[in-house]
């Protein structure tokens, strides 16, 4: 995958890297918008490209159920299906399936679960999950793993880690397509010895990159940070590291500092549809009365399509009137904000000013929360 380190920060593990997929070059740090069902909610692929994204995420579990991996394969893969010409990463679907609690059963073989759509029974083995992602045709795929809870005890976590490690090996054997990159999942819950064991064993299997699994799943923020900070140095430096489910600007900055390269999260798009907009001073709720007659853009110096064309008063009105254009315009702004933040972070690492950038951003970004 031609992984290269472009620049490193001297005060932290922050770095700029790049690697290649079948659909282009990805520069990191990178934030990937979530297109769960082969669409980033409300937007066209053109709009994502215009904002500058080169990679998006889609969810294997959702696509497996609707429209089905066979349909996407017949379409010529997810890129053709949704008309997106840059890279796609799919997750394993394990997280969604395991969240079903009453509706799933785990064995060494895999996970049996029921469809949330029609109650039908399905089975995800490591092999099925690889095959499904090969049909979907994403550029980066992830093997099936078991994601515990933050209350799981050591013994349970160790047993689940052993299954995950077996599944990782089976997935490497099952993988046929040469044009896809498969990431290894580092599990081990909130036990450092198990994280160490996971990192060592997964690293030894030859995966070209890694995701930090089982973090940011409901535990205290301090605990997530402790385990990200602990786990990253256990992984080889010459491969990308991906932390799933993180999308707020301050967290992204923090984890980049710890050496994480890749992020995805529904947060920016979900809060957008819920009337909340990123600004350099923090998140603002656009339906507040103070915006009713505010005929300026969300941010004065923002170059996003929404800010170039519409005012806060108009967005306020669209949300009040429950108009669908509201969520769309807000989504564009929030994704643009994050993408610009990522570009600025890369630039600051390259120019040796990441520390100052982090400090300044934090100072300004907390202003609204302090009001």
């Amino acid at each position: 995958m031609n992984f290269k380190i472009i620049a490193t920060d001297e005060n932290s593990r922050a770095r700029v890297t790049q690697f290649e997929t079948s659909h282009g070059i990805i520069e990191t740090p990178v934030f990937m918008p979530v297109g769960t069902q082969a669409t980033v909610k409300t937007l066209t692929p053109d709009e994502l490209s215009e904002i500058g994204f080169k990679i998006i995420l889609a969810n294997t579990y959702h696509l497996y159920l609707q429209p089905g991996a066979d349909v996407i394969e017949k379409a010529g893969g997810i890129h053709k299906f949704m008309n997106w010409n840059d890279s796609v990463l799919t997750d394993s679907g394990g997280f969604q399936v395991l969240s079903l609690k009453e509706l799933r059963k785990i064995s060494n073989e895999g996970v049996q679960f029921k469809s949330f759509i029609d109650g039908s029974t399905h089975f995800f083995s490591p092999e099925v999950v690889v095959e499904t992602q090969e049909k979907i045709g994403s550029d980066i795929i992830i093997h099936l793993d078991i994601c515990g809870t933050y209350q799981s005890d050591w013994k349970e976590t160790d047993r689940e880690l052993d299954i995950t490690l077996q599944w990782a090996k089976r997935s490497l054997v099952a993988k046929k397509r040469k044009d896809q990159i498969m990431l290894g999942v580092v599990q081990g819950g909130f036990y450092k010895d198990l994280r160490k064991k996971a990192a060592e064993e997964i690293s030894s299997m030859g995966f070209p990159g890694f995701t930090l699994g089982g973090l940011s799943i409901g535990e205290e923020r301090a605990l997530t940070e402790e385990f990200v900070d602990y786990t990253v140095p256990l992984l080889p430096g010459d491969k990308p590291r991906y932390l799933m489910g993180v999308g707020d600007p301050l967290s992204i900055l923090e984890y980049i500092k710890m050496g994480v390269d890749m992020f995805d999260c529904v947060l920016p798009t979900r809060i957008a549809r819920n009337k909340s907009l990123f600004t350099k001073h923090g998140v603002v709720k656009i339906t507040k009365n103070i915006y009713k007659e505010d005929f300026t853009p969300i941010e004065d110096n923002c170059d996003c399509y929404t800010c170039r064309n519409f005012t806060k008063a108009y967005l306020h009105h669209l949300f009040k009137a429950k108009e669908r254009l509201a969520g769309r315009l807000a989504t564009i702004h929030n994704l643009f904000f994050l993408q610009k933040l990522i570009l600025n972070i890369r630039q600051s690492i390259k120019s040796g000013t990441f520390k100052e950038f982090l400090r300044d951003f934090k100072n300004i970004y907390s202003q609204i929360n302090n009001k």
Copy 2:
């Protein structure tokens, strides 16, 4: 308003005309997409322009309640508020207010009604309605009228017509802005003598154009046609004629034949959000199973953004998955279809082939309905 007749059909009253508003030249026949709340649902103004629209409709009643005419006035008018640089027509709000049945009270003075949003009491007089539209700043405005029901008896209809005629006069007196065109409303229900009286009196007041009021409000299609056909020749030939609430292709063709110049309707955008797409063979429901693996565009020769970029299978999936992009892509296609139809109609009138165009379109368009 510089009204000009560009071409007339020799077999019918169909014609191509043009007139000028403060925001540009409108060529007719014209279909105006409905942007009730200062947004054509799901689309940006850019997308409407790309399809080729030069005029849209917004609803005075909705805008009066949310965000309020004062907000739009402070924004610099509806064009600036919603960032639409071409023409806007607003209705009088009378139709919506009168539909409230239990919540409204009519007198010679005007209509008292309760807000559907918060139950507060409001009063629409002819003067308030003119003032509201002057604040909104639309290019074409319509005076308050009383729209009866198709069951109203002669006496009631005559009484309501008299009030409408008084309101028309009061509206002309109330009108201050010189940059807006006010259309006169021809009422008279389903009584030919009253339609004649209405047409004569309204015509004598000097309005620069007319809307055929109180038609297509739930009565049998044949009755609408009879009254459109009867009323149009009663109006001066050198002014535009507008029929509200008609948006299906066959009806538009029929009424153009009768001499109607302007149309608006929520139909193309509403059925789009409800999975129904215009094709030259009729309306298709894209969620039907036959489209699940149909990797061709909605229409092979359609140049709309949706057909240029996406397949039936993808639209099928988006609707099945309840994704918001679905309604947006379907809306683009349906509006493009209607706009192209209108352009073809104009062309056929100009080239003297309207009769053949009408015949051919009808033959092909009914194919799906006959299956």
